[in-house]
Symmetry: C2
Subunit: 239 residues, 2 copies
């Protein structure tokens, strides 16, 4: 099948709901009237990769070999032009994975930060993410580099975030939504001008919550838009 | 990454929304509390495969070479144990594709028909599908073999079905829902006991419509459940 668009290799399964959401966001962010105008995607949604956070907080198997195996298989496919990983925590290994293959991997954190429009007097950016993402400073590092102050939930709040993410992974969207909405609101009421939904399970729960939607930054969507752009397909709205 | 579940190869992209919906249905039909309990999936969502219906009604490029290329690449992956195709019309080529590779391909029509519970006095089964699926008799053949009478929309109704499917493909869910709901209702009011949503774009539009949901058979869901079963993961509800 010949295609004028470049094919993205999606290293997914972390978790499977986030990967399905990501594929659908790529589609929704594309301006297309027919199937054929959409981005070609080759996706691995192999959720047996060990839990990223468990490893980063010091009590689980190393996910890197599984991540590298998947990235190498995608990169070895001559149809794949570049990769994307719809898992924020996995970006702790972005640099190491990039060195392991000869095709570029988009970076969810850089793409997300690039979408944030800062005005004078804006408060810090709140970060909702896994313990692994927070401990590995996946967002903090790039936000500091961009000169943007950031804030994370306090210990009890972060426990609610993890419980919310676990609920979404277990298919209990209602519990997940309540817990995650509470923490997003706490960061916003505490002075944050925006909150990054920095775990791909979070937008699944919060994208329908009208009250906070406009002030939450969807990292999955930012990565999906970067994929459409990089593929050469037409974005639904300008960048 | 070692997994105790068998990996499914998904030949998708027909269209991309249907493939994202299919991956999400596989996840929703699986009983799992963690990522690692989910079905491993390797998916090709390459929507540049020529339109199936255009070819079957005699005015478009042959999609078979593209389908065969995708099936062969999936089958050549040593991780893939079996294939599934979330596109009803593409099942016109199921037998020919099965002969082209050495791994089994689940059959969406057989899986869908197997879920239909018939009682004495039940009316015929209505079929909502593309012109291509209807012309190639993809459902009719298997329903006759099962001894189940079937009915398709009249000419004007079938035009509405095609317009509804095109609207879903173009991202206009509201128009798609109105057109497809009207045709489902017409078949049900005309005496059909159930209506098969026999195009993977249709459940995307109709699964939220409470009035007809219980009487519509979701072919995508039937195939997703067959994938979970075949993979060895645990179904959310018994078969």
């Amino acid at each position: 099948v010949s295609t004028k668009y470049r094919t993205v290799g999606v290293l997914g399964g972390m978790g499977p709901a986030a990967t399905a959401d990501f594929l659908d966001q790529i589609r929704r962010e594309t301006r297309a009237l027919t199937d054929q105008e959409h981005v070609p995607v080759i996706a691995r949604s192999v959720p047996q990769i060990p839990d990223r956070t468990a490893y980063l907080v010091g009590d689980g198997a190393d996910p890197f070999p599984g991540l590298a195996h998947g990235a190498k298989k995608l990169a070895a496919d001559d149809e794949v032009a570049f990769l994307a990983i719809p898992c924020n925590t996995a970006h702790h290994w972005h640099e190491r994975l990039s060195r392991a293959i000869d095709k570029p991997i988009l970076h969810i954190v850089k793409e997300t930060i690039a979408t944030i429009d800062r005005r004078p007097g804006d408060g810090p950016i709140g970060i909702l993410a896994t313990d692994g993402t927070q401990k590995a400073d996946v967002y903090g590092k790039w936000l500091r580099e961009a000169g943007i102050p950031s804030r994370v939930p306090a210990v009890a709040g972060q426990q609610s975030v993890m419980a919310g993410i676990a609920a979404v992974k277990a298919g209990d969207l209602e519990t997940g939504r309540a817990l995650l909405k509470g923490q997003a609101e706490e960061l916003l009421q505490g002075g944050c001008s925006r909150v990054i939904m920095g775990c791909t399970e979070i937008p699944i729960a919060l994208n329908d919550v009208a009250e906070i939607r406009g002030r939450c930054v969807d990292a999955t969507r930012a990565l999906a838009r970067a994929v459409v752009h990089e593929s050469g397909a037409v974005l639904r709205t300008a960048r």
